[in-house]
């Protein structure tokens, strides 16, 4: 089942009279349960493509369809609701809400979606355990290590059961052990919850785990390889 369809998408920026084509005619699709990475050198358009898929940005041309929604037809306010309902984000810098505890951060999007309290708490407990932080419910982000914060961010992204997770350089700020732990957890969640993960990364550790590697260069897909890593 296709979760994301990208047809001939272009994104052009006009930066001081110079036209920069960050994404240049990309056509791709992602299936439910994919564990895919988008790789490429800096400036190849990885993050831009991720932003377009996530509805954070609109393409200059082409079409993106996510869970039946044509993103170009959505108004800005509808795009925000779309992101809340269908997309989970994991950022390089974790981006947790510093005034909330780990558990509150995990429950945050569910509370925006007005989940009943009991259901929200049960899901939070489940995910905190899944990411190995069941004893850190009440810890603030500042009391957690980088790896632990990123695990909370993954749990937050997964909590409302989105269509897919977009993870932009999720291991870039982590040491090897933390990165491996995080990837173990993501693989497990991909397997157990059949959650689609789309990464943008430079990290070889992530590439090694991926079952699909898409390479971008100058905004174009130069290769799209399925590997035989089993989740």
């Amino acid at each position: 089942m296709k979760v994301v369809e990208i047809n001939e998408v272009q994104k052009t920026y006009h930066d001081t009279e110079v036209e920069v084509r960050a994404v240049n005619g990309v056509t791709l699709s992602f299936e439910k349960g994919d564990f895919a990475v988008i790789v490429g050198p800096s400036g190849s358009g990885k993050t831009t493509l991720l932003n377009l898929i996530g509805g954070l940005d609109q393409p200059t041309a082409g079409e993106i369809i996510v869970a039946g929604h044509r993103l170009s037809e959505l108004k800005p306010s509808e795009l925000i609701d779309f992101r809340m309902e269908h997309v989970g984000f994991v950022f390089q810098s974790y981006n947790l809400i510093p005034v909330l505890t780990a558990a509150e951060n995990v429950g945050f999007i569910m509370s925006l979606q007005k989940w009943p309290k009991e259901k929200r708490m049960a899901r939070t407990d489940e995910l905190m355990e899944a990411v190995g932080l069941s004893d850190r419910h009440k810890s603030r982000p500042s009391q957690l290590s980088g790896g632990q914060q990123q695990r909370v961010a993954v749990a937050r992204a997964l909590a409302p059961r989105p269509e897919f997770i977009l993870a932009d350089e999720p291991t870039a700020n982590l040491d090897s052990k933390s990165a491996e732990t995080l990837l173990d957890i993501m693989e497990k969640l991909n397997r157990e919850e059949e959650m689609t993960f789309i990464f943008s990364t430079h990290d070889v550790r992530v590439m090694k785990r991926a079952r699909r590697v898409i390479t971008l260069e100058d905004g174009k897909v130069v290769s799209d390889v399925r590997t035989n890593h089993s989740a």
């Binding site: 932003n51 996530g54 954070l56 940005d57 306010s77 925000i80 609701d81 992101r83 809340m84 309902e85 984000f89 950022f91 810098s93 981006n95 809400i97 510093p98 005034v99 909330l100 509150e104 429950g107 945050f108 999007i109 509370s111 925006l112 979606q113 937050r156 992204a157």
Partner: protein
């Protein structure tokens, strides 16, 4: 959740938040306390006007106020009294005969309004008897000699019945009051000199003493020099009912002190019988009836009823007689609200600045919130709530501090005797007992919330203008 985040965000930068909260606290405290002090002087002035001078409603002959001829008496007084007594809300009624005349003493004379009163009734209806200066008599007392007069301190001074004189007895009193001999010696040049006012005496001893001595011993010197001979007499002269000049000597049975210099200087009270005899007025004839109501709040309700019932007479309540005071009383809450709006508007700049800093340093976080699906309405609400919390914490702290300060000073009073001359000339007390209604705090709470909301608009707009992609990138 949004409310909880907003509250926690307020305390992210404690120093910055506490600074703006302290500014709001001090601003609210200072303005509420100042308003309570102003309010107290107005409340006290209304209280004095109603309880000492005017009561709630007065009924006169239509011509009497503009032309106070002795002949402008109220027709059919028995019927008027009956109407007043039968009107719901009226608790007490008394009549006065009133003549304009001259009060004279050996050292001076002054124009006065002489009211012939029913002593017992007036004692029930007015608190003027409680304003008797100790040592000056006993408000007509048990001695019901007819030729007694109850006069104000200001008039007594003008007639030089009260004066300030440092006699040998005064110097003994100074010693008893603990004033050092060297200070008393400095005052020797003033011995035997008469001062008609407290101000003149003060000026005289200020020239002789150091500033510290004036401050420390001034009150005791004035007390020791205050001189009044009990039983002093004045001559009251006026035109009788037939237009002939008449008059008599009246023994001063007491001197009252109010906060209203004009009232004190012009209002002389004598027993109704003696004045009636001198003026040639028959028994049962009156120039004015005065009605007291159950409650001051009934004034506006009862007045039109009486105006309709007594169409041939002039019925006026205290608000119509003291128009300026009534206007202040009626609009005081609006005046306070405008004052508070101005203060809070000034404070809002501090809140806007703080909120703007909070938004600008959280660009990345706001970008993340927008990315994960927090819509514009929720972001706006979060910023607005932070601003409201900031204002309300400061506002409530300010209200609490001012509430305590008002409670304490309402008990102890604030002494503004230094400025009493100016204040009492306009009928306002130099001793303030700050007070303010609970309804004012409700209005203030609403104003503080509005301040919080308005202060959040600009920072919230800034937050909404953020593009999530740029905000997430912009570290």
């Amino acid at each position: 959740m949004i409310t909880s985040i907003a509250w926690k965000n307020v305390w992210r930068n404690k120093t910055r938040s506490l600074t703006v909260i302290a500014a709001v606290t001090v601003g609210v405290f200072a303005s509420v306390f100042a308003l309570a002090a102003i309010n107290s002087s107005i409340v006290q002035r209304i209280d004095s006007a109603v309880n000492e001078e005017l009561s709630h409603i007065q009924v006169n002959h239509r011509e009497f106020r503009s032309n106070s001829e002795i002949t402008n008496i109220i027709p059919d007084p028995a019927a008027v009294v009956a109407t007043l007594r039968n009107t719901p809300g009226v608790t007490d009624v008394t009549g006065r005969i009133i003549v304009r005349g001259i009060a004279s003493a050996p050292a001076g004379s002054a124009g006065v309004e002489i009211s012939g009163i029913d002593i017992e009734k007036e004692k029930q209806m007015f608190t003027l008897s409680e304003k008797l200066i100790p040592g000056t008599g006993s408000y007509f007392g048990t001695d019901t000699r007819l030729n007694s007069a109850f006069i104000g301190e200001k008039l007594a001074r003008e007639l030089q019945i009260i004066r300030y004189i440092l006699t040998p007895e005064s110097f003994k009193a100074l010693e008893e009051k603990g004033i050092p001999a060297e200070v008393a010696d400095k005052l020797k040049p003033l011995e035997g000199q008469r001062f008609t006012t407290e101000k003149r005496l003060t000026e005289a001893y200020t020239d002789l003493l150091t500033q510290g001595e004036v401050k420390k011993y001034g009150l005791r010197i004035r007390e020791a020099a205050w001189s009044y001979r009990e039983g002093s007499r004045i001559i009251l002269t006026f035109l009788d009912f037939n237009g002939n000049q008449t008059g008599a000597a009246f023994r001063i049975c007491g001197i009252y002190r109010t906060n209203n210099d004009l009232f004190e200087a012009t209002s002389v009270f004598v027993p109704d019988g003696e004045l009636r005899r001198l003026a040639g007025l028959e028994e049962g004839v009156y120039h004015r009836f005065i009605a007291r109501l159950e409650d001051n709040d009934l004034t506006d309700k009862v007045t039109p009823v009486l105006k309709e019932a007594l169409p041939d007479l002039e019925v006026m309540n205290w608000k119509e007689i003291q128009v300026d005071l009534a206007m202040i009383a009626d609009y005081i809450n609006q005046i306070y609200a405008i004052f508070m709006v101005l203060i809070l508007a000034a404070l809002s700049f501090g809140i806007v600045n703080t909120m703007l800093m909070a938004v600008l340093e959280r660009t990345r976080e706001l970008g993340m919130l927008s990315a994960v699906g927090m819509n514009r309405r929720r972001i706006f609400r979060m910023i607005m709530l932070e601003s409201i919390f900031l204002s309300m914490v400061g506002g409530f702290a300010g209200m609490a501090v001012s509430g305590v300060a008002i409670a304490i000073t309402n008990h102890t009073g604030i002494n503004l005797v230094k400025y009493s001359e100016g204040m009492e000339a306009f009928g306002y007390s130099a001793h303030l007992y700050p007070t303010i209604g609970a309804d004012f705090f409700i209005i203030l709470t609403v104003l503080i919330v509005i301040t919080g909301i308005l202060s959040s608009v600009y920072p919230a707009r800034k937050a909404l203008q953020l593009n999530p992609v740029e905000a997430l990138r912009g570290e």
